[in-house]
């Protein structure tokens, strides 16, 4: 497989302008004749679908939820970064670029990251104009807060509901296009296969989740904006329905999967309380601005927090990382939490938790200021745990939150299948081995509003596409394969539910491919996953039939794909003999326990090619070059 990143030559500052100038444009009168399918209506998908329709393309947009507004992006809390430098505190496009490359532990593509930083400012303008109610200062200007991994204040936010407000902005733009006929919205519709004809992505096969009907959709290009695959761990902060089906099935049709093992563990989530637990809830990282993280100094100290005097507390992040303190990047904060809990100093019943304490801030700023900043988060915490965080420190523990890996894309955001574009969390592009807080929303909107409208046009203008009908043999074959898989799942009629398999898979992944990994552990995981997958295909019990709403069938199909992806994640993690960002291999660490990269051997993107019939996947390497930000050992001391 040939990996051509198509990074423009010359100075990075002008790369995107040059690339845009070199692009061929589609004649405005012809745009209507091109059909584009956008799978996904989160920030990436909704912004892309709306913008493509504004330009005149005929767009079909899909989501599996009942409304595009319910996409998982709605749940993002903390904020969105942009290099506006409104605070006059030394921010710039270059600094955001620098922070992101460094935060990603030097495993991302510089040119993509620079473009992201460059576009970031236009995103805020666009969203503000749409009526996104960002937080404001008394003078009426936009307000900012700081976030992990940065020393400037560049995060824009709308209370603790930033994702909701940004998504509603994009959703409204999308509905406006639905109204004028530019977008046909297919909600409650799941993509189950990608159709490739003459080497190009030419459409998809879907299941209508309310009726069960299998359908083919022909297009001139397909955009996947289907989000991340964190639910491979079963318990994660993702919405229950988030899944890897679209990208995995595209992978099986030839799209390379990049860095699958790069997953992010978020340090501030509400700890697990029981085995019925269905998901984990994130407490926004912005809380680390005003909350202080600590555990007792003594192992096994079970006193309630208010009876542990100051001198017997260990504010371990402030102690170990004096310059970043509680605001170290996520991977660092998570690993440190695990380390203190492994030492027996964890708090709460399970011992898997650390305190996030607001007493000092409430004292310093007053309760009202805290209510204004985090009111809804505090309420959410109290609702779930039954404890009042204004009185007792929150208990938090790391949880799976985001996946940096995804389908490989070039600078144009096109996968290794021509005509198949991948945007948002579903691609691998901008965050390397660790994503900085408030950068996913930025990336999703950058891809959707400002990158794909250009690059997709360039593809269409340069490509001669034959006219096709859904009766083409490849569509028929995909429909048959999808139907056969449904029938097979329904016919097993075994003794275990989908959720019970999923929970077990998640446990394997968390234990062996979670916060820290070893070669031997990953080998064990691969064997366990294979056995479990085998049992799944013999012993799962899926309720109901192929017609109508069948949530049991939906989750079975998604889990079948998670099994295969889980194995690839472990293979990738085993193959990468270094630690970087969220990928921490115990064998590779500095004497202080920090991640130890191996730039000489692993400064590349691992792009895996699917091999049919159980053969081992094939590794392709895209070498990474750092011409601007020189790889160094990340230090947040």
């Amino acid at each position: 497989m040939q990996l051509d990143s198509k990074v423009p030559s010359g100075p990075i500052e002008q790369a995107w302008d040059r690339a845009r100038f070199d692009m061929k444009l589609v004649n405005p009168a012809n745009k209507r004749k091109y059909s584009v399918i956008v799978v996904g209506s989160g920030l990436a998908g909704a912004s892309a679908a709306a913008t493509l329709a504004e330009l005149g393309y005929s767009v079909k947009c899909l989501c599996f939820q009942g409304s595009p507004r319910r996409a998982h992006s709605i749940a993002a809390q903390g904020g969105i970064n942009a290099a506006k430098n409104y605070q006059n505190d030394g921010d710039s496009v270059y600094r955001l670029f620098y922070d992101t490359v460094k935060g990603g532990d030097f495993r991302s593509r510089e040119a993509n990251v620079y473009r992201l930083a460059h576009i970031s400012t236009a995103i805020i303008d666009q969203c503000t104009a749409q009526g996104v109610p960002f937080a404001r200062e008394y003078g009426g200007t936009l307000s900012n807060r700081s976030f992990g991994g940065a020393q400037v204040s560049r995060t824009f936010y709308a209370r603790g509901q930033t994702g909701q407000q940004l998504l509603l902005g994009a959703y409204q733009a999308l509905e406006r296009q639905v109204h004028v006929g530019g977008v046909t919205m297919l909600a409650n519709t799941e993509m189950l296969d990608l159709v490739v004809i003459d080497g190009r992505a030419r459409g998809i096969v879907t299941r209508n989740l309310l009726t069960g009907t299998i359908e083919s959709h022909v297009a001139d290009a397909v955009v996947l904006a289907t989000g991340g695959y964190g639910n491979v761990y079963y318990l994660s902060t993702n919405a229950k329905g988030s899944n890897c089906t679209a990208i995995w099935r595209a992978h099986k049709k030839g799209a390379a999967f990049a860095n699958p093992c790069f997953t992010q563990i978020h340090p501030t989530c509400i700890p697990v309380s029981g085995d019925y637990q269905s998901k984990l809830t994130l407490m926004s990282e912005s809380l680390r601005n005003d909350g202080r993280i600590w555990v007792p100094i003594k192992a096994g100290d079970k006193r309630p927090p208010d009876q542990i005097p100051e001198s017997e507390r260990d504010y371990y992040l402030e102690r170990r990382y004096p310059s970043f303190g509680n605001l170290v990047p996520r991977d660092v904060a998570s690993r440190n939490a695990k380390a203190v809990c492994d030492d027996g100093r964890g708090v709460g019943e399970s011992g898997l938790g650390v305190y996030l304490d607001f007493a000092d801030s409430i004292h310093r700023l007053g309760r009202q200021a805290i209510v204004e900043r985090y009111g809804n988060l505090f309420e959410m915490y109290e609702r779930i745990t039954g404890e009042d965080p204004y009185k007792f420190p929150m208990r938090i523990y790391p949880a799976i939150h985001y996946t940096m890996g995804g389908l490989w894309v070039d600078y144009q955001l096109m996968s290794t299948i021509p005509g198949l574009f991948v945007i948002g969390e579903a691609n691998f592009s901008d965050h390397g081995a660790n994503r900085l807080g408030a950068s996913a929303l930025m990336q999703g909107l950058s891809d959707g509003y400002f990158v794909i409208p250009y690059t997709l046009g360039n593809y269409l203008a340069n490509t001669k596409l034959e006219k096709l009908e859904a009766t083409h043999g490849n569509f028929r074959a995909s429909e048959a394969a999808v139907t056969a898989m449904t029938e097979r799942l329904l016919a097993i009629n075994g003794n275990r539910t989908v959720a019970s398999f999923h929970r077990e898979l998640g446990k394997i992944m968390w234990d062996y491919c979670g916060m820290s990994r070893t070669a031997a552990g990953l080998e064990t995981a691969i064997q366990k996953i294979r056995r479990l997958k085998d049992e799944f295909w013999r012993n799962v019990k899926v309720a109901g039939g192929p017609e109508g709403l069948n949530q049991s069938l939906e989750s079975a199909g998604r889990l079948a794909d998670f099994f295969e992806l889980a194995e690839l994640m472990c293979i990738d993690a085993r193959d990468r003999n270094e630690s970087c960002g969220g990928h921490f291999r115990e064998e590779f660490q500095t004497p202080e326990g920090e991640a130890l990269r191996d730039d000489e051997h692993y400064s590349y993107v691992a792009a895996w090619e699917y091999a049919a019939n159980g053969a081992a996947p094939v590794l392709n390497r895209e070498p990474l070059e750092f011409r601007y930000v020189h790889p160094s050992q990340r230090s947040y001391k």
């Binding site: 666009q126 503000t128 200062e137 200007t141 959703y171 733009a173 109204h179 919405a239 309380s273």
Partner: protein, 257 residues
Amino acid sequence: MNLTLHVWRQNSASDKGRMVRYEARDVNPDMSFLEMLDVVNEELILKGDNPIAFDHDCREGVCGSCGFMINGVAHGPSHGTAVCQLHMRHYKDGDVLFLEPWRARAFPVVKDLYVDRKALDRIIAAGGYISVSTGSAPDGNAILVPKDKSDRAMDAAACIGCGACVAACPNASAALFTGAKISHLGLLPQGQPERRQRALSMVAQAAAEGFGHCTNIGECEAVCPKEIKLEVIARMNRDFLKASWTSRQKPLAGSDG
């Protein structure tokens, strides 16, 4: 604790539907309501029955997917809480709970507790936006928004579109939902140019979808998981009336690119 559930079971839109009794045993007080139903469903599946269908996704109270009636109250007894965020510690051993779907002409039942709420999307499509195509925005700080205006816009914008307001209203009116969007956008300077047109178009669409009229009963406010205030309806009515009296504009026709 052990609970008795009476759940509305309806196979499809055309099925008549009926209440069916289930026992939920060993319910842990730290569970969420939906987790309690997950456990009941696991048992049903293993017994070869169909699990109870209900919509959900984020389980964090923000996507607006979840929602059904618990003992006649939309989202159940906890104020300002969507049912996915309702925890079982609010119940006690022996409680009997009746679960029913949202009932409104504009929300057809798909299955059991799962209803189709696409009518709400069509209300937004009719005018619930600021028409600004990508690329045409001025600098973010070129538009100053007084903090109190922005805060109030945010209060209204917090609506999650779950439809509880409709389900609670004896008239099945979508006034709280529609008013929330009209207030969010109408409070902001960016939203002024289309303000009247927006009110006309959205209100007309809500009527066309079969939602009823608001008669100021206030049940909607009481059940709203985001605590959207009735005043958004007053704002909507003001904008609508002004638009009807003074403006020459007609509801958006759906043909202006």
